[in-house]
């Protein structure tokens, strides 16, 4: 490649012409701006065009959300909290609440959401008078008019796929990783079945305890329903469940 600027400069400047060349450059711009219209935008009345994937405040599609808490776990500023909310049938469910005073607009919640309920939205005018007003509850966070461009998807390729010579983009991380049971550690406490947001875990009887006469319960995971939010892994008191990463 060629050197462009260092070939021409530094120049030996004539003392008598010390401001004329810059003045001439400015004059040219002046002549241009007289003819052309101004480039400034009168902000409150006109607004700049923002692209579809603009990262403004996080938005939530309330009906899609399953309340798994993946957004709260991934948030680098810990501004997302799961709170109780009422859904359309009057049932109490867990939904994210975002404190926009702390939100860094990094877009991780939209990226890691396993069901694409969290999105980024092009809303950027978020000024409020009090800090309390900045806390967006699940209903207020709801955003209508989500388009395809706003959804950020984790499109990853597995290293093993590349080695096989078949590089293919997979849409979600969570379709690949699955929790697995270590049978010797499990005590059958049913906690995993309770915390599962999509009811993918079912407790199944696997025989009878000879000493006490009580049935032995073991979780069975339905891989079709599982979104791999790792709630069961985190809450297991005996670390009997673990997520194996598919690589």
């Amino acid at each position: 490649m060629t050197i462009k600027y260092l070939d021409k400069y530094p120049k030996n400047l004539a003392k008598s012409l010390w401001v004329l060349k810059p003045q001439w450059t400015v004059l040219k711009l002046f002549a241009k701006t007289v003819v052309h219209r101004p480039v400034t935008v009168l902000y409150p009345y006109e607004k700049e065009w923002v692209p579809e994937n603009y990262r403004g405040r996080p938005g939530l599609i309330f009906d899609k959300c399953v309340g798994c808490g993946m957004c709260a776990r991934m948030c680098p500023t810990a501004c997302i909290k799961l709170v109780d909310a009422e859904d359309d049938n009057g049932k109490t469910v867990k939904r994210p609440q975002v404190n926009l005073g702390r939100c860094a607009m990094c877009g991780y919640c939209a990226e890691y959401c396993p069901v694409d309920a969290m999105t980024v939205t092009p809303e950027y005018e978020l000024a409020e008078f009090t800090r309390f007003d900045l806390i967006y509850g699940p209903r207020r966070l709801n955003y209508e008019g989500t388009t395809e461009g706003m959804k950020v998807k984790l499109e990853v390729t597995l290293p093993s796929d590349i080695e096989n010579g078949n590089p293919e983009r997979r849409v979600s991380l969570f379709d690949l990783d699955r929790p697995e049971l270590i049978d010797s550690k499990c005590i059958g406490c049913k906690k995993c079945a309770k915390v599962c947001p999509v009811n993918a875990i079912e407790m199944v009887e696997k025989g009878v305890n000879e000493k006490t006469g009580k049935p032995i319960l073991r979780p069975v995971i339905d891989n079709g329903k599982c979104i791999c939010c790792s709630n069961c892994v985190d809450d297991c008191p005996k670390d009997a469940l673990e997520i194996k990463e598919v690589l």
Binding site: P10, V39, R55, A104
Partner: protein, 380 residues
């Protein structure tokens, strides 16, 4: 006065001018950010200088020890607002080296495009600062106007203007958006023409040039000894660029020149950065061609394990301001044990004694503008 006991004339002959410490900062028009420069003056001549940094210390390195690896990427953005892309890139490269993985070709070229856009961004920010330091407000406005087009490119690429949060461990966040290739080429073509106008304002004006030419000379040996890096070092005649001499990602597959000047003065350090902007435009054009050759459906992100094997790794890269380095000590968990950042400005600003010695007070802003201060990364 005639009635005084001691004759005035005798006192004046015996009196020596005291050398005086002048404290510039932390709030001073010349310091872009919060830092202090103590200079010792003998009349008008500067004889000693002592920078004091640390007003912006926020415990960045300690904070990273409590976070999982992906959560550090948005934090690395906030090390320096002008060079956010290069710092996230550096962090991701360090972790990738620790994991021992190779990222897809497309991601490497996308990172090069993003890096060079960031480099032009940062240099335009510096040009605006130099303009105001030398008293040319038109340059400030024009450079900021050009920078806006490159910030729009960032929005188009990843949705954010400054804190981009774009590179990921194992690739990049999203694929190039629709028409991004077209837009980046158009912006670069337009920018090259506009930059010549700014050059005409700076280099063709003997007022501006005479404030930089022949001032604060540093020789090649001295520059290497005091540990200067980046464009300031290449202005003193040291021919070293990490992009060429220790290539990371795919910088060995693009063709570019490393500008080097032997003049060693303030003006040479200025000229290097202007030439680097032209070279960045060339690199962007080549990298976009390579991306188009790879096709639309090429993979751009590979899946990485959450736990990093125990060990120590470092990675360095050519930041817009010099050589930045990250040193990672991992202990086998999903959080780093220690993450050290070596900022290029921290070493560059410690050379201010060498740079300022022997010049006049009025030249101090013009000299220190050439190292492009950014306190976010210096104090961390």
């Amino acid at each position: 006065m005639t009635d005084s006991i001691v004759p005035v004339k005798e006192i004046e002959e015996k009196m020596e001018t005291d050398k005086m410490w002048i404290i510039m900062g932390p709030q001073h028009p010349f310091s872009h950010g919060l830092w202090t420069l103590k200079i010792k003056v003998d009349g008008e001549i500067v004889v000693d200088a002592d920078p004091i940094v640390g007003y912006l210390h926020r415990g960045w390195e300690k904070e990273t020890e409590n976070r999982t690896y992906p959560k550090i990427i948005p934090m690395a953005d906030r090390l320096c607002y002008a060079a956010s892309m290069t710092y996230t890139h550096l962090y991701c490269m360090t972790v990738e080296k620790a994991l021992g993985i190779d990222i897809p070709e497309k991601a490497k070229y996308i990172r090069i495009v993003a890096d060079e856009v960031c480099r032009i961004n940062s240099h335009l920010m510096w040009l605006a600062a130099v303009g105001t330091d030398l008293g040319n407000l038109t340059v400030f406005l024009w450079a900021m106007r050009e920078r806006e087009y490159f910030l729009d490119l960032n929005v188009k690429l990843c949705g954010a203007r400054m804190t981009t949060n774009y590179p990921r461990i194992g690739g990049v966040r999203n694929d190039l958006t629709e028409l991004f290739e077209r837009d980046v080429i158009r912006t670069v073509d337009r920018f090259e023409k506009a930059l010549w106008d700014i050059i005409a304002l700076m280099d063709d004006s003997s007022i501006i040039v005479s404030r930089m030419k022949g001032i604060s000379y540093i020789s090649r040996e001295q520059c290497a000894n005091i540990g200067m890096t980046g464009p300031a070092m290449r202005g003193c005649g040291v021919d070293f660029d990490i992009r060429r001499d220790d290539p990371y990602d795919n910088y060995d597959k693009v063709d570019f020149e490393v500008p080097v000047l032997t003049a060693g003065d303030s003006y040479a350090r200025y000229m290097i950065r202007i030439e680097e902007m032209f070279q960045s435009c060339d690199i962007i054009r080549q990298a976009v061609q390579k991306i188009q050759a790879l096709g639309k459906n090429a993979p751009y992100r590979i899946k990485t394990p959450t736990k990093v094997p125990a060990g120590t790794h470092f990675m360095r890269m050519e930041d817009p301001r010099g050589e930045s380095l990250m040193y990672l000590v991992s202990d086998g968990t999903d959080k780093p044990y220690r993450l050290k950042v070596r900022s290029p400005i921290f070493t560059n600003v410690s050379t201010s004694k060498v740079m300022c010695q022997g010049c006049r007070i009025a030249d101090v802003p013009a000299i220190l503008a050439q190292i492009d201060m950014c306190l976010g990364e210096t104090d961390r």
